[in-house]
Symmetry: C2
Subunit: 487 residues, 2 copies
């Protein structure tokens, strides 16, 4: 595969030049990408709508999220503390003399980005993986997603403009339009590849891990994969507001036809007198929910297959499906129930049904609910609906929730991922391949950096972040104290 | 393997309790381990000397390093900013409302520690991996190293006293004395195992990676493996002080009979008029170097095999070996030279020869030296001997050095790893399996933690590190500003 080799050689050369751009220049570059994406205007939105069936309003929101994300990383670069500068000055008269040691984070090298089908902007060509890798100082090779290749090409044209305007290395971002599996495999296995970012299915993520495992030199693969995002309905909250909860969750289940990795696919409740109220309201809402087209035929067919297969399992009872007019490519909003004992015994029911489907697990009591909750560890989010009385009755609540997922949502819905420094979009396997990192929020940059220490380095050779005078004016840990002061 | 399963179940139970201990309690526990190790006094030193052949003075130093390391992590726990608390407060009147999001690092679960043969204290039972995992909040299962099993058992007895004194969960640290490969494999592959720390050979590290790759659920394996720690001799420094450099390096090569992962196994210089001076002095020093016994027969035999094999390669010329009396278990300090072109063509010469052996690569000019340097990327350290003129002539110096290794040593020797917050003991593969983490320094804790975000959590449910009033008084990033203030 000469073509892939050329791409990776280009990426490596770009890496060498990009190291010498300042944080300010990198920040300007990220903001410029955001500007050029906006400059594509309605043409871009229309192209994405054509390829993904997503409504223009949703795409507008996603575009905002994408540009916001680029600005967030630009802000992070200017603030500068993300490099984790730690300085321990010398103690020459100690025996043996203590050397001067200074460490900070350096970029690891070219990153391959596999975009998601369900986020043509925010998790694709100029999405979170690309933005975080560029902020880290790494070149990016994007493999265009076949489901929205033209949208990807348009976004790449915006990046190219930003590269030219900002006099960045020509190949700092490259776009591979060969959408074959073989091309993906060759990218992951190329010797110059330093890391992989992926958003997609469990099978896709596992395939990439396998390709990477076959390499002579291991590289980090961060894959964000499936999640069913368990929601826990605690009894006192249900007593107070079962109807309101059902209405809020009906909206979350059908939002974007359930094509979010944070879609609430599993709801755990206690089979007491409030459950029928909850189910009745949820059912009414799902019955009225308007079907809408799914992203593409593959996802549409997979949804119906997985949903029907789930409903065909012994003990699973269909509660409601939308009764509104449905077109060929539309999803069909669906809810079902199952007893906890049946759920615990059938691993298939833990698999993600990507689309507007949610399974309500009816538990005999709180203890059984906790048991079911613990059994589904490996999620991006888990949501807890409860009030003060519920929380006081459950001292183990946070321990369990933090074992289950990377983000704990209280009295809200998991859909809608805020792009902000504190966000965690990650979780134990199978939600992610490495729960120590996040795909969203400024800490996403940590996937693409490694620490380097300088021992007794002459001041002139130190990177700006480590120089005595602290020219970047960043927060550093100097002799075990956080400070912005010079040394 | 019922025994291993019982161990891992115990570790998991201990994990659940240990979560509820405060940073202060964990810090006291670490300090108590240090105290109990010291309380073992000369008996411990003598036992280690018997098992490892290491001199008592060296073992005293290593014991100090080990207790110092425990205190360093205790200090880190009390300082508290290592949890990376990031708080973005709510903006309720935004459309859509911005939720309150707070993230911090949580422990990942039971960690398996495989100690090193060459550091019976500092990288073993109560060494850096154990100390960092306990600080992170993770239980530890130590697999005793067969080469110093009795020393390991004594150190474990010290840990057990500290567990009792501090009323820690009984199984927060466990000691597996079954030293078979099978036991190691079963520990790595147990479903409750959350991570692995290893210090040893490349083949050992690769085996653990392979065991981990066979798991259904991937886990992080941090293995610190081989390194030849290239030293670059720049021409102007050689002009100034070739003799002094040779004397300093002769000491570093034979220190501890070269049984350090930071031993300088490769020296790159230019074949100009200063090279003969350097080689002459180095040769005189090596001739006088006193052989001493190696850690155990396996390491002794491996040293002689690897050293003889390296010397047998075409184009490799023996320069000098120690001419002092040598006993059965002793290493034989040895230096050899090779032309750069020969070195570049023979990958075997890049392999670590664990012991007091160093290969001097003679390069035609600076460009060839840089080529050789780049070719050996994947090191724990790289050392640069140069002066102002050398550095000014080499603008690419830091770029190359940082690609090669995790720690760049200027005008010094790589042996002697300072235990301090800024230390990086890591590097690109094959030095380590994941260069994004370090085995030494407070950041070693990051191997065993994952971020968890709380969205709109009631104040009462938040961990102390994330509460409004900041009861731990730690540095946090609140709305993108570093602060110790309450909210």
């Amino acid at each position: 595969m000469v073509a892939i080799d050329e791409v990776m050689q280009n990426a490596y050369q770009a890496f060498q030049s990009y190291k010498h751009y300042s944080p300010k220049q990198k920040a300007d570059f990220l903001r410029s990408i955001a500007f050029e994406i906006e400059a594509l205007g309605d043409t871009l939105l229309q192209q994405a709508a054509n390829e993904t069936n997503l409504p223009i309003e949703r795409l507008k929101g996603e575009r905002f999220r994408t540009t916001n994300q680029l600005h967030l990383f630009a802000d992070m670069l200017l603030e500068g503390s993300w490099v984790e500068a730690v300085i321990d000055t010398a103690i020459p008269d100690r025996t043996p003399p203590k050397p001067d040691l200074r460490r900070m984070l350096f970029p690891i090298g070219p990153i391959i980005v596999f975009g998601a089908s369900n986020f043509p902007f925010a998790y694709s060509t100029a999405g979170g993986d690309t933005a975080s890798a560029l902020a880290a100082g790494c070149p990016v090779v994007v493999k265009a997603h076949p489901a929205h290749a033209a949208t990807s090409a348009m976004v790449f044209s915006a990046i190219q403009k930003a590269i030219a305007t900002n006099k960045m290395p020509q190949y700092i971002v490259q776009h591979v339009t060969d959408t074959s599996f073989e091309a993906g495999k060759n990218l992951v296995q190329h010797p110059l590849t330093a890391g992989v970012g992926f958003t997609g299915s469990l099978s896709g993520g596992k395939a990439l891990m396998q390709y990477a495992a076959e390499r002579e030199k291991p590289i980090p693969v961060f894959a964000e994969m499936g999640s069913i995002n368990p929601v826990v309905l605690l009894p006192n909250a249900m007593h107070e507001r079962a109807e309101a909860i059902a209405k809020e969750y009906a909206q979350s289940i059908v939002l974007g036809m359930g094509q979010f990795c944070t879609n609430p696919g599993l709801i755990l409740g206690i089979a007491n007198e409030y459950m029928p109220v909850f189910l009745q309201t949820l059912s009414e809402q799902i019955e009225k929910a308007m079907p809408a087209p799914m992203l593409h035929k593959g996802i549409h067919d997979a949804y119906f297959n997985k949903m029907k297969n789930a409903l065909a399992q012994k003990g699973v009872n269909l509660v409601q499906q939308s009764k509104q007019p449905i077109n060929e490519m539309d999803a069909l909003p669906t809810i079902a129930t199952v007893e906890a004992s049946v759920f615990l015994a059938n691993p298939l029911l833990r698999e993600e049904v990507f689309g507007p489907y949610s399974l309500i697990v009816q538990c005999a009591d709180l203890q059984e609910l906790l048991k079911v909750w613990k059994s589904v560890s490996g999620q991006l989010t888990t949501s807890i609906i409860g009030n003060k009385i519920d929380f006081e009755a459950l001292p183990e609540l946070i321990d369990i929730a933090a074992d289950v997922a990377g983000r704990l949502v209280f009295n809200g819905v998991p859909t809608g991922v805020e792009v902000c420094p504190a966000m965690v979009h990650s979780g134990p396997f199978p939600a992610c391949t490495d729960s120590r990192f996040t795909a969203v929020g400024i800490h996403a940059v940590k996937r693409w950096v490694r620490p380097v220490a300088f021992q007794n380095a002459p001041e002139a050779l130190l990177p700006s972040a480590l120089k005595n005078e602290n020219p970047l004016n960043i927060w550093r840990m100097v002799n075990a104290q956080f400070t912005q002061a010079a040394i």
